[in-house]
Amino acid sequence: MAEEQVGLVLGVVEPATSTQFRVVIDEDNYLQLDDLVEARTQVPKVGEVHLYGLVTEVAARYEGARFESDMFLIAEEGSLPAELARSASVQTIRVDPEIWVAPDPGEPVYRVRGHSRDKALYADQMGRRLPIGFARDGDPIWVDLDFFDGRKGGHISISGVSGVATKTSFALAFLRSLTAHPDVLGPAASNVRVLVFNVKQEDLLWLDKPNRGLTDEARLQWTRMGIPSEPFPSVSFWAPPRGAVGMVPDTDSRTEGVSPFSWTPREFIEMGLLRFLFTETGDFRQQLTFVEERVRSQLARLAQPVEGRDGVVRIGTRLVASLADLVDVIEQHLDPPEGEPDQSWTGRVQGGTAQAFMRRLRAAEHRIGRLIRADGNRVDRTAEAVTVVDLHKLHDFAQRFVVGALLDEVFAGKEKTGQRLPLQVILLDELNKYAPREGHSPIKETLIDIAQRGRSLGIILIGAQQTASRVAPEVVENASIRVSGRLDAAEAERAEYGWMLPSTRMRARLFKPGTMVVFQPGIPAPLVFTFPYPPWATRPEEAVEEDPFEGLS
């Protein structure tokens, strides 16, 4: 491939240095932000050294003019001659061989291509490279899966303003690439399971349907990434049941193929799901969690299976077939209409605390009662490669309950087997709600556990949030791969985005939907990329329905 010279290393006013230098751009060429370039320089005793860099800023000025008003003389009057000088600032991202010298001013600078591009992006050193999108030059950008699936690192943290940051879209594109490249993923590829929580509208309930808006251009891009431009081949959809009776999923746009999920009272007690009704950060301070622990262990101790009724338990004389039944049983001990509270249940807390506990339970009964029922039907996370659990119609409180319960189930299951494989990937948006920076909650603890130990247990978290600064630092810091879409200007200045270059921070507020920046341990610079339009539908209008009469005549 012919080399494309774009300019010369500058060293006139400011010196070129090993970590950054400027390039004066050839008259008939251009450089833009994020372009990757290579400069070569002859070093005595060493030979040729290649410096690969990333364009962080481009500038243009007229030389020969001294006053700003000279612009009129140059451009309007046409009386003052001036030389247009266009330059680019380059941040060195790799030196090969590793001799950290400044490039000689005047040396030609090339746009990277092919082999030199691989070098610039450290692609030659990536263990398992997975395409995630395209750089400005139209060629793929990769992440090293060694830093995703736990070998050298794990987890992805995605930040960005809602609506334009396309956090979930990117996460899904990534997952699509992951599931379409078992060759890259290697042994971990078999039986990878992905758990996706749908928190906004019914966007993710169409992952298995082709998108009628898919353009040929996008199709070609998916093909170039080695991914069939088709919807997810293996997805199951789950939604809460509508009402306390019947098994109709509570969804609007789609009911076909969506299974209602719930837990039986027996599962609720055995799995200790009571914890996830006390997930507000204030609960710990108010000693509600203390009472909860007592109550949980009492329930586990006293609950007896009921012959012939699988999900139902007996506690004392009482049959418990719903959350309401359970709340009644608890009230008998905590706040009986007659007599004193049972201290083995309350743990001697003050009466007010026990009453606050009961108020919470009554509220919970109203909000999640339909999720706890004798005919309970738990989410089957293993049936299909991707499991979408729809939460968007649930109250905040109920959302936390479901997320807490499912995360705990995943973590407990993995802890029991102790096996890293098969991999379990979890995609969770609004992480700031589940693992906030301040306070305690059982979900936060589970998420921190996953962030810290999930790597070795084969639980990989793809967490998304509007603002990483509001998420527990343990969760964000343990993500090896960081991705960000458009950021609020003030947010971009925070330490959580220290991996960005100053120029990236400046520009993060201007990112268009579909444009993101990725940072991974193997490449010491953030890379801006775009990913193609999804081949799966994200709204009912986009979904191409199969013709039920197809094949009949």
Partner: protein, 314 residues
């Protein structure tokens, strides 16, 4: 003594004055024919015309180092000097064109030592003069510069451009070449005619007059900018055209130049010789100086080159 009027010279003091006078300009000793164009001496205001393709030309010279050569029991003085000339072509936008640097060694006493190139970029060609006085050496370097300027002026004018050269005109050829003189040492006008020049407004000119026995020229005065509270001759320039150009064509040139020059006048904050130092010429001069290279570095090259054996050997 009462003072009726005082003004501050608009040029920076190191350039002297734009008009070296005490009371009025000294009359020229040349024979001047004032009535070449018209007998009716008053300000003329040319019709507007479209912008011509115009080239401004200028040159610079600099002594890089002084030197001596020893020969037959005595020494001859010399110098190493650099000259540069170039053009600013205005064609909607202004651009530099044909900027060229030459480096000369000039030795006196008829000595012409061969000097080896000091480096690929710094090569001095030799000139020799019979005299030995420093100003004679200097003059030879200036001559090299004006040769370069004149060659360029001729080349561009022959190519069909309207060429405006900084300084008096030496080329005698019927081409569109105008000399632009920004300072006045003497007047070519009689006391009776001078007020016409002093009363010009920007874009006006005097009628054409002629003078010069050796190099006869047509000439006119023009005002290039308003100059309130300044010396009466401030902002007035004189232009000249060779008489080898037909009078009618000279009048046409005078009209075009007079109409368009004010556009190129510099302003006080912009140039130390405003307004006469035209914007294209001022910027060309800066460009040419930068092309000569850093003088200290050039001098260092010369020194080390001479010491390394680049000295005279014949």
């Amino acid at each position: 003594m009462t003072v009726d009027q005082m003004w501050v010279e608009s040029w920076s003091p190191e350039y002297g004055s734009s008009s070296e006078v005490d009371d009025g300009l000294a009359p020229s000793e040349e024979e001047v024919d004032l009535y070449v164009e018209t007998a009716d001496w008053r300000a003329l205001s040319p019709e507007p015309s479209s912008s011509p393709l115009v080239a401004f030309i200028d040159g610079v010279d600099r002594v890089d180092a002084r030197a001596f050569v020893g020969h037959s029991m005595s020494t001859a003085p010399g110098l190493f000097g650099s000259v540069a000339a170039g053009a600013v072509v205005v064609d909607g936008r202004a651009r530099f064109e044909a900027c060229e640097v030459q480096r000369w060694s000039v030795f006196g006493d008829g000595v012409a030592p061969r000097v080896r190139p000091f480096s690929a970029a710094i090569t001095y060609r030799g000139r020799s003069i019979p005299g030995t006085r420093p100003e004679e050496l200097r003059y030879e370097l200036q001559k090299a510069r004006s040769d370069l300027e004149e060659d360029l002026a001729r080349r561009l004018a022959r190519g069909g451009m309207l060429v405006i050269a900084d300084g008096p005109l030496r080329v005698r050829e019927p081409v569109n070449l105008v000399g632009y003189i920004k300072s006045h040492q003497k007047t070519y006008l009689s006391p009776g005619h001078a007020p016409v020049a002093l009363g010009l407004t920007p874009g006006e000119r005097t009628p054409i007059f002629s003078f010069g026995r050796i190099r006869p020229r047509y000439s006119w005065y023009t005002r290039i900018a308003p100059a309130p509270h300044q010396h009466p001759w401030a902002a007035i320039a004189r232009c000249e055209v060779s008489t080898t150009v037909e009078l009618r064509r000279a009048i046409g040139l005078a009209d075009v130049v007079t109409h368009h020059l004010p556009r190129f006048a510099s302003r006080g904050f912009w140039d130390t010789r405003a307004p006469q130092n035209l914007v294209p010429i001022a910027s060309l001069e800066r460009k040419l100086w930068s092309l000569l290279g850093n003088r200290e570095l050039v001098m260092r090259r010369i020194r080390s080159g001479v010491m390394a054996g680049g000295r005279a050997d014949g």
